[in-house]
Amino acid sequence: MAWSDIVTIGPFAAAVILAGLVLIVDLVRPNRSGPVIAVSLVGLAAIAGLTVVTGQTDATAFGGSYRVDALTTFLDLLFIAIVALTILFAPDYLAPRGLPTAEFTVILLFALTGAMLISASADLLVLFIGLELMVIPGYLLAGYHKSDGFSTEGAIKYFLLGSFSSAIFLFGLAFVWGLTGSTRIDEVALRLGEIVSGASTLSPGLAMGLAFLTTGVAFKIAAVPFHYWTPDAYQGSPTPVTGYLSVGPKIGAFALILRLFVEALASVTDEWLIVIVILAATTMTLGNLVALTQNNVKRMLAYSSIAHTGYMLVGLAAYAAGREEGLEGLLYYGAAYSFMNLGAFAVIAALQKRAGVTSSLDTFAGLGRREPLLGILMTLFLLSLTGIPPTAGFFGKAYVILAAVQAGGAVGILAVIAVLNAAAAAFYYLRVVVYMFMREPQSDEAAPKHGRLLWGGLWVATALTILLGLIPGPLLEIVGDAARALG
């Protein structure tokens, strides 16, 4: 282990240390959320700074199993932002329900380390460890509200299907290892290239491996028809957790796709293109159609998050069809989706400040009158999720569609399916707006006071949602660099 290795893994190591540090802070000052949150936020800011600094130069560590490039940096910063926003949103929801903030924060920070490991993995084993490190805290978080039956139910479903899919995924990795004799991503790519170049058809072993890997990953990103765990897990989880689950692990799983499918399995692109196209089409369409009928906003957003997975898959399909813009679009969409979706969940969490308030549509009735500012911000997030300009969601969608149009053929048809879906999605997103602004409040209770942290987080999400739509230039350059790193 050389000194350079330590420097290279610096941000990851710092995240692990931060998680430990927060645990200690909680031991020293038990049952106080202030110090915990302060330490975590300062720590996250420091890690972000460290990520930017170390990300200036590409490097590998530990004999080439850990790697830092522009993609790693971009994804790490996105994960850090997601976790930081979640930490800002959580206390307002957790405190009234008597749920401790410190453990929540620690679990979240451990999930962050897993996600960072995925984005930096240059080895299939590291990749898998990162995956598990990211999703296991997710199971804990889903069941964080122990006394709530729905939370427990959701957590168990999430856990069972999650570990099941992890096993399938691992099985697929075993096939790849068996065929190539290596777990290093670059070597796997090289050997697979040799294997595929001579053969006219895929060997049964490779086909099996691909099938298992695809299935495992499709579970993680909640692509249809592997999405069944999502609605229950999302609806049952405490709302800030749902917000996190709908973006963090999803972006993490896409990071895994980029490292595994785009890099390691690059030589079999043609084989998985058609799979991705079908997955994208069914995921968008089914996610949206089912979301249309939901009366619970959390559940509706769960299905809508499935649909958003579909839009991101359109970008992936465009890449598989030979357009690098597809990857850029996917990354841009990922960032845009994270902020607008987190923002929307933060508003739901704020509404549920009083324990016992459900997330049904009725909760939103007359919000525009009771709490106009929250209503306006929610409208902004919903418009962005719909893809109305000038918001981040619009530009993300336009970018993905542009890539799909460029790719042409079957992927071009995906572009048309995507926009028709976006129009259908407008119905259920705007239904919330109808409840907020066009119906009278159900009760005349005074609005609860929301914490400053929540407002701070909301303003950050709002600013990003608008800026990424109005001035997409800077982020375009960053995702461009990140996509080229995969090359």
Partner: protein, 514 residues
């Protein structure tokens, strides 16, 4: 700083946004004067545009402003006007302040939010007309959607939520497909220029490309179909019109005025500005189909209007019929036809806007719009009935008023194109006079109905402030009726250049039809 350096188009477009922000920051009672003030400032600025405009420069764009926006894709913040967009910008700014003034009475709840929505709506509409970058155009196009959705959905009638969601969904389906087409066209341009994105969204560059090498046939057909759908829904053409009566009936008066006066024109403008010059071959291919659809819309709108029991619905369906003349005039690909179509757009904006205001006036007093319940308004409210009659005659196309000129030019143009088409359209003009005058007869003449008697003293005649909203429209209708040359001078250049492009690209056969 030179006067010509002032970015006046940016000012005209974004002054409403400044007003909206000011209203948001000020107390509720400031909302009305601030909104009216903003709209009038915008209007005055747009009149300066007219003063400094030189019609002699034909189809060229003036007051052009360019700034790089998303350099990676060559997307620009590019604004500019030619005669066509100028006319429509002024129509928009005029109807905007009139509508805001007309909302003072009827809108009594959430005034702040209403005025903010209205000003953002104005921003979007002006933006659509002045944008010279397809991406920017699309953004303004969508910006229009949200405030209109709120205006119908919050301040509308009983069935407003159904109407507003229908409006949004129809419009979104069309516009999102248009987005795909915009991106596909940009990509084709980029591919043809060796992967360079410069100009891929620039309207003038795209149009230059369409006029020289042209887009591939397949792309043209797809892109035209997508643009067509977006614009046809907005116009609305038969069979995409079903959202319109619902939206009109449920919208508050000012919403109806803007909807009929400006929003429908976005579609006609889109055809002339984008669909025709960018995809001329596809436009010619689709032309006959669109002419048939236009004729159906003209006939169908008139027949359905004839049997409407509700005043507002009658005016709404008459819009379908009148806008049919617009699409007919555009797609016969003749100078007179297209000039007539543009005049018809302006006149329809003025006249139908006024009719909706008038329906609003009577609704304010009676809370009813059923034709059968009215009768004898001429006796009870003589001034109102006289004004109503004036605008109805204008709508029916009485010579000397502006409604006549547009329809007449379209008819002349279509006669050159095909006597059969002209015959059908002329026949419907008679039908148009029939449903409007029959309605007027039932509402204004005869015995005073029991319903109106029951209202007693509530049924007052039209108030000065209401006349103030109608007077400018009436004056313009007379002026444009007597001196249509004022408008024709402005639009002749753009029309000729669009038709040149179409003719050059496709060498069309004029006498396709018997």
């Amino acid at each position: 700083m030179n006067v010509s350096d002032i970015p006046i188009l940016t000012l005209v477009t974004f002054v409403p946004l400044v007003g909206a922000i000011l209203i948001a920051l000020s107390p509720e009672r400031g909302a009305r004067p601030l909104a009216l003030g903003t709209a009038i400032v915008t209007w005055v600025l747009s009149l300066f545009l007219v003063l400094g405009f030189s019609p002699g420069r034909g189809g060229l764009f003036q007051y052009v402003e360019v700034a790089s926006w998303i350099p990676a894709f060559g997307i620009q913040y590019k604004l500019g006007v030619d005669g066509l967009s100028l006319v429509l910008v002024v129509l928009t700014t005029t109807l905007s302040w009139i509508s805001i003034l007309a909302s003072f009475g009827p809108i009594r709840t959430r005034i702040k939010e209403y005025m903010i929505s209205f000003l953002i709506l104005e921003l979007g509409m002006i933006g659509v007309f002045v944008a010279l970058d397809t991406f920017l155009f699309y953004i303004f196009w969508e910006v229009v959607l949200v405030p209109m959705y709120l205006i119908i959905g919050i301040w509308g009638g009983a069935n407003r939520i159904y109407a507003t969601i229908k409006f949004v969904l129809y419009t979104l389906v069309g516009s999102l497909l248009m987005l795909v087409a915009i991106l596909a066209v940009a990509f084709a341009f980029q591919a043809a220029h060796g992967g360079d994105w410069t100009g891929a969204f620039d309207y003038e560059a795209l149009r230059g490309f369409a006029g020289t090498s042209g887009f591939a046939e397949g792309l043209q057909l797809f892109a035209f179909a997508a643009f067509f759908l977006a614009f046809a829904i907005k116009v609305p053409m038969f069979p995409f019109h079903t959202w319109l009566p619902d939206a009109h009936v449920e919208a508050p008066t000012a919403g109806s005025v803007i909807l009929a006066g400006v929003l429908l024109k976005l579609g006609g403008y889109g055809f002339i500005r984008y669909a025709l010059p960018l995809f001329p071959n596809a436009a010619v291919t689709f032309g006959p189909l669109i002419i048939v659809l236009s004729l159906i819309a003209i006939i169908y709108g008139a027949i359905v209007a004839l049997v409407q029991p509700d005043l507002k619905k009658l005016v709404a369906y008459s819009s379908v019929s009148h806008m049919g003349f617009v699409t007919l005039g555009i797609f016969i690909f003749g100078e007179q036809g297209m000039q007539g179509a543009i005049l018809q757009m302006v006149n329809h904006g003025l006249i139908t806007g006024a009719l909706f205001l008038l329906v609003g006036v009577i609704y304010e007093r009676t809370h009813d719009r059923t034709i059968a319940k009215m009768g004898g308004l001429a006796e009870r409210t003589p001034v109102y009935a006289a004004i109503f009659g004036f605008f109805l005659f204008a709508s029916a196309g009485l010579p000397g008023l502006s409604g006549f000129v547009g329809e007449f030019l379209v008819l002349v143009g279509s006669f050159d194109f095909s006597p059969l088409v002209a015959f059908v359209a002329t026949f419907v003009m008679i039908l148009g006079a029939a449903y409007l005058l029959w309605m007027f007869q039932r509402v204004a003449f005869g015995e005073v109905s029991d319903f109106l008697k029951g209202l007693g003293g509530h049924l007052t005649d039209i108030k000065p402030v209401e006349i103030l909203t109608l007077a400018p429209l009436g004056a313009l209708i007379v002026v444009f009726g007597l001196f249509p040359g004022l408008l024709l001078d402005l639009i002749a250049g753009p029309v000729a250049s669009v038709l040149d492009d179409v003719a050059r690209a496709s060498a069309i056969q004029i006498a396709l039809w018997p």
